[in-house]
Symmetry: C2
Subunit: 206 residues, 2 copies
């Protein structure tokens, strides 16, 4: 059985959501943040040297990186291609790969910068602030325009990259707000109204 090492509260709840969408049986091992630093503690570092979460364990395999974990879970638990396209559809499969990598590989970076900058006293550092603001707008505009009037990123059905994008937009709504992006707010609403998302939020104990 898959074990998810789950640091609360944080991004690994989105891996719980993926497990729920895939309807896989899994164990959760819960870790708590240091109340002073808000970082992980020695218990999680004993499992993996980076002390980050999500981590999944499957027999002898211990795997980090949200995108790699999604790829692994889909390879083994999505034979009917419910959340990932078949490789035989090359254009769709390529687009899926881009969006699977995009959330952690590109979109996350300016958001965590904004989060750190909010904790700096004024005056904010100008170079970093300008970079974070410009990149945040660039990425949110890009996702909005790509999504357009589609229900999910790749069309009518939820696919695995929507879950990574759910993490990004949840963070964006907290850090910079989505008031200027009604398309993205509505999409995030569709994501968080899914029954599997609700189960993920309840499963770790609220």
């Amino acid at each position: 059985m898959i074990t998810l090492h789950h640091l609360r509260v944080g991004r690994s709840v989105f891996t719980v959501w993926l497990l729920e969408e895939l309807d896989i049986e899994y164990d959760l091992k819960i870790y708590l943040r240091d109340p002073k630093t808000n970082r992980s503690q020695a218990d999680l570092k004993a499992v993996h040297p980076l002390g980050k979460s999500p981590l999944i364990e499957d027999g002898d395999i211990m795997l980090a990186e949200s995108g790699a974990i999604a790829t692994y879970l889909l390879e083994h638990h999505d034979p009917e291609n419910r959340l990932s396209p078949s490789r035989s559809d090359n254009a769709r499969w390529a687009e899926y790969q881009q969006w699977l990598h995009y959330s952690e590989g590109s979109a996350f970076l300016p958001l965590i910068m904004n989060m750190l900058l909010a904790r700096e006293t004024d005056p904010k550092p100008p170079v970093t602030s300008a970079f974070a603001a410009g990149e945040t707008k660039l990425h949110l505009d890009y996702v909005r325009d790509f999504l357009a009037d589609k229900t999910y990123l790749l069309g009518e059905d939820l696919q695995a990259p929507d879950i990574g994008m759910g993490f990004i937009l949840t963070m964006a709504s907290k850090v910079v707000g989505l008031q200027n992006y009604p398309t993205l707010e509505a999409y995030l609403g569709r994501l968080t109204q899914r029954p599997a998302f609700a189960r993920a939020m309840e499963r770790p104990g609220g």
Copy 2:
């Protein structure tokens, strides 16, 4: 034929290197940075709304994200599993996935923060500076310890994630230096001494 949209000077030279390792025929379309801002210009934004590079074009497909591009190229051009493991070796394939996602998904973030912080005047913003320094050390220590006395990340033979790591360590050597990491310096030396790397550096015109 694959076309690589290649913004100079930047990370897409590592995609050129992957193409050279795979011995694929490809076209390069060269784009130059704005000399004032050091960012991409309207010509690249006309190709893709993010205006970032690498981008590959294959018939009707236009693909962004270094990791997605690597996955796409290997799916179509590595049938003998020279640079990627077979899916039948589950443990090795999982480890490969982690490292393919790791360079852009985790290791890049503190390095670009350091790059921006170097351009800020003193005093440097304390929260962002502490985060960038701590994460840089965490990741460089992790890669050093994982590499240990292996030739490449996954053993004796170069695999695709070594190319992403080549980008990370090239950036790390410029931004923070690798003097305290002789293991990583030696590994970067092995990477940059490969004939395909030399061809990649020569191909765009020096």
